[in-house]
Amino acid sequence: SAVISQKPSRDICQRGTSLTIQCQVDSQVTMMFWYRQQPGQSLTLIATANQGSEATYESGFVIDKFPISRPNLTFSTLTVSNMSPEDSSIYLCSLRASGSTDTQYFGPGTRLTVL
């Protein structure tokens, strides 16, 4: 399976600021996803990011709050804009394995705390 890395691994930010999270994969993948995991909760999909097209956002998530870039097949960024304490979560990128399987593999996550 592909190796997925995220930066930063954790951060503590002040409300009103923005943080950009990077996701790097060691092989080319078509479909990448960004998830949020709030404290004690399961994972919720924020958006799907395909290279060469606009990200597709899920209900409850908007581009102005969570802009996503996908400049190539191995890299994506998620920005959490104008942060509030309610944005404190673990943010995870994932990729869908190539070939016929639906399997998604996840990065190690970015733990964000907003004060």
Binding site: S42, R96, T103, F106
Partner: protein, 118 residues
Amino acid sequence: EDQVTQSPEALRLQEGESSSLNCSYTVSGLRGLFWYRQDPGKGPEFLFTLYSAGEEKEKERLKATLTKKESFLHITAPKPEDSATYLCASPLEVLPPSAKAAGNKLTFGGGTRVLVKP
């Protein structure tokens, strides 16, 4: 609305005490089922994918099974290192494994926190 529900929310086991976790899903048809293990502060680690009712997959002390309505993750003779949160998920769209195109977003259950005490 498609839903994925896991039970119990938490499970405390003695080392060697076998048990099962349940994942039920309400979707319009049989969907694929994914099982993940998540350790605190880490991303989910892929365990199994099941596509067909009656399918079973094993990995060390874990065995996943699938029916038309639910999936079970059986933990046989667990050890303390099996302590983790176990997540199941289903793609809202899935095609047979033989198809090139595949499903997209995963809907996750709430997870089962498993604690195995020595």
